[in-house]
C-alpha cells in the first residue's frame, strides 16, 4: 500500500469509527476548559522560534476560544 493509500484508508476508518459524536459538539464542550498542564516550551532544536507562543499568549488563546 502506498503512503497515500494508507493515509486515505486511515481517514476512512476514522470517519467511520470516530464520528459517533458530532465533532462540533465535543469541541464546544472541551473548549476553554483545557487541562492546562502542558504549555509550549522551548523549540525542538533549541533555536529561538519567532512564532513560538508564550505561555501567556497560549492562556489568552485558550480563554478566547469558542
Amino acid at each position: 500500500m502506498t503512503d497515500e493509500k494508507a493515509r486515505e484508508s486511515r481517514r476512512d476508518f476514522l470517519k467511520l469509527a470516530a464520528t459517533g459524536a458530532p465533532a462540533v459538539a465535543v469541541a464546544a464542550v472541551a473548549g476553554g476548559t483545557s487541562a492546562d498542564a502542558a504549555v509550549p516550551g522551548g523549540n525542538a532544536d533549541g533555536k529561538a522560534a519567532g512564532l513560538r507562543k508564550t505561555e501567556h499568549v497560549e492562556k489568552y488563546l485558550e480563554s478566547a476560544r469558542f
Binding site: M1, D3, K5, A6, R7, S9, R10, R11, F13, L14, K15, L16, A17, A18, T19, G20, A21, P22, A23, A25, V26, A27, A28, V29, A30, G31, T33, S34, A35, D36, A37, A38, V39, P40, G41, G42, N43, A44, D45, A49, L51, R52, K53, E55, E58
Partner: protein, 204 residues
C-alpha cells in the same frame, strides 16, 4: 523523532484529526480536575449515534443530566485523590512499572523537551498523568506547541507514552467501584484508544 517544522504538512488539520483532538481535549478536561457545573451541563447536551463511541457519549450525557457538581467532585476525589490515595493512579509510570516517577516519566520528559512542550507552572502533578498526556496529544494534533505534528510524530508519542497503558487505565476507570459519572468517561477513553491504535496501524 521528526521535527514538526520539516514535516511539510499543510498547517490545516483535517476533520478526522480535529475530532481526535476534540476527544483528547474532552478527556483531558474531565480528568484533570472535577468538572465545574458549566462543563457538566455542556457534557449533558452531547448526543451520540449507534456506534460504540456514540453510545458511550450518549451514556455520559445521560449521567451528566442526573449529576450534581458536588457528587461528581466527590466521585473524582474518591477515584483519584482519596485519603491516602484514590482508587486509581492514572500515571503512565505506575501502570507501566508499578511505581510512580519511574523511567516512563523520565522518557516522557525527554520527548516533551524535544517536541517543545513544557510543564505548566500551575500543576504539581507528574507530567505522565492521563489528563496531561491527552492534552499533549490534542496539542500535537492541532499544533498548539508549534506546527501541527505529523502522523509519525503523533504515532511515536502515542506508542511510547499512551498506547501501552491508557487502554488498561480507561478499562479500570469504567469498572471502578467509585465510578458513576466516570464510568462512561472510561468507556469513551477505552473505545477511543482502540480506534487510535487501529488508525495508527493503518498508516502513519
Amino acid at each position: 523523532m521528526t521535527n514538526p517544522e520539516s514535516s511539510g504538512l499543510p498547517p490545516s488539520v483535517v476533520e478526522e484529526d480535529r475530532l481526535r483532538a476534540d476527544l483528547y481535549d474532552i478527556l483531558a478536561a474531565l480528568l484533570a480536575r472535577p468538572p465545574a457545573r458549566d462543563l457538566i451541563d455542556r457534557v449533558s447536551r452531547l448526543d451520540g449515534d449507534e456506534t460504540p463511541l456514540g453510545s458511550a457519549i450518549g451514556a455520559l450525557s445521560r449521567v451528566a443530566k442526573a449529576s450534581t457538581e458536588k457528587a461528581v467532585e466527590r466521585e473524582f476525589n474518591a477515584l483519584f485523590i482519596g485519603l491516602a490515595r484514590g482508587e486509581l493512579l492514572p500515571y503512565a509510570s505506575y501502570y507501566m512499572t508499578g511505581f510512580l516517577h519511574e523511567k516512563p516519566l523520565a522518557l516522557l520528559r525527554g520527548d516533551m523537551s524535544k517536541l517543545g512542550i513544557a510543564r505548566s507552572p500551575d500543576t504539581k502533578d507528574p507530567e505522565d498523568n492521563i489528563a496531561s498526556l491527552c492534552e499533549m496529544m490534542a496539542g500535537l494534533i492541532l499544533g498548539r506547541f508549534g506546527e501541527p505534528a505529523d502522523l509519525t510524530t503523533q504515532r511515536d508519542f502515542y506508542a511510547a507514552h499512551i498506547g501501552p497503558w491508557a487502554g488498561h487505565f480507561f478499562t479500570d476507570l469504567e469498572g471502578a467501584k467509585g465510578s458513576v459519572f466516570y464510568a462512561p468517561v472510561g468507556a469513551i477513553g477505552r473505545i477511543f484508544m482502540e480506534i487510535e491504535r487501529e488508525a495508527f496501524r493503518m498508516g502513519a
